[in-house]
Subunit: 269 residues, 2 copies
């Protein structure tokens, strides 16, 4: 498919990359780089193209996330990562919200400066092992007890792939709480337009000169296209062949992996 | 409200009663009867009215559920309980389905006679403490791996009240799996029409001569009314004042509790 037409690869000045499933496959063991991706990131940087990672990662602070990526061989700085937790902190401050956190232990430091006494909202991240029956009931009771329940969800992904298999993502738990409380969550993270716009601002490139590359047909590809960007789906990570028949979202191109996308983009520069 | 008009209480031959929140408040300690309910059940039986319990209870076999109710003072027989698990077994046999069970440990014996090798569907009940991150991921992986995922949910309640507080019900977890797999579950239990019809068949009374009494505005009241029955909401259990402004469902009457409903019905006999 990538070979059929390359029009999508022209007039590019910056790339937004999803991380899990594009740079590496995550897992309890820290994960493993996807073949060719370390070299692809190196080539993007050498080419002069601007680069920003746009992730819904909420299992770690940006600092420790970047440490992990660097340990895997990716030459990335903290400022090159757009992630939901800092965006959520901005929103909480803006609206005077005091969150109860149902998030991964390693994400908690991102909220260190936020007042969490007497919560008037729930912030939901990919809590992984913290998605216990007791913790879900606690978040539910807080929400249902609020006059106007506010649920802020760090992403709404359905599932993702780790080295030991597929895992339910935050979106599934968001739906559980939405249904139980008869409310709609506010999503901070992909595919929210506001989130992509802040990633583009950090990239420093207008949408028509940027390409998003991700493995999630809805949250990466669909969300980026809604912002006027081109978007590619890689056939790595959680990509499934049935994605190529998605009823609503059609990527500008499919590529086998990040390395192939970068090959084509650099040839067209 | 119950006092304003009593037309709803005429020409009754049988009662369908929800159990948790109507007869008793459930809890880890076995629960406690709701004031007046033991006596109300005794009076129904003495009056000659037919009586059937119509429950979405899936934390125990009907046998152990009835043992618990009898220990609380309710004079009930196993045949007087219509519950989702036996209905699900009927459906599984009818369609040659082999379930993976994500249910409460105490419900498992209801499925003793069902072939569970090489599962081609998932049956979801109120698994309570079995709603672990690992178990939810396992059910998800089985579903997403099926060519045509079949999810059978024993009810779709949002939440219920136990003596130590509100708990997320099976419906919340159903929504999580539905969203993750992009599928629609088949619900066995209230408010499914087929389930109410089997309860009415066991009651032995046509819908226009039966009244459903429950604490759940949607699953008890709405579901029963869809089958042509009258339905009351009690102000016990998980009843919340905002239920009285429900946008879609309006009970034939509100009553403070089962005892008040029975008082009025027996006066009108």
């Amino acid at each position: 498919m990538a070979e059929r037409g390359r029009g999508w690869a022209r007039a590019v000045r910056g790339l937004l990359l999803d991380v899990s499933g594009v740079l590496y496959d995550s897992g309890a063991d820290g994960g493993v780089p996807i073949a060719g991706s370390v070299e692809a990131v190196r080539r993007i940087k050498a080419s002069g193209l601007k680069l920003q990672l746009c992730t819904n990662e909420t299992q770690a602070t940006r600092e420790s996330f970047v440490r992990k990526l660097r340990a895997l061989g990716f030459d990335i700085a903290v400022a090159q990562v757009t992630a939901p937790a800092p965006a959520a902190c901005h929103l909480l401050r803006e609206r005077g919200l005091r969150p109860h956190l149902l998030v991964h232990d390693d994400l908690v430091p991102e909220f260190a400066e936020i007042d969490k006494t007497n919560p008037n909202c729930v912030v939901l991240g990919d809590a992984a092992e913290n998605f216990t029956y007791a913790n879900l009931n606690e978040a539910f009771r807080l929400l249902i007890g609020m006059e106007k329940p506010v649920l802020i969800s760090l992403g709404k992904g359905r599932y993702y792939k780790e080295t030991d298999g597929l895992k339910l993502d935050v979106g599934a738990y968001m739906k559980a709480l939405e249904y139980a409380c008869d409310i709609q969550a506010e999503v901070v993270g992909k595919p929210s337009k506001r989130f992509f716009e802040s990633a583009l601002a950090e990239l420093g490139v207008p949408p028509e000169q940027a390409i998003m590359i991700g493995d999630d047909i809805v949250n990466d590809v669909g969300g980026a296209q809604q912002c006027g960007m081109r978007a590619l789906q890689v056939r790595t990570g959680k990509f499934r062949p049935s994605d190529e028949n998605h009823p609503a979202v059609k990527p500008d191109a499919y590529v086998n992996n990040l390395a192939e996308a970068v090959d084509i983009i650099l040839q067209e520069l």
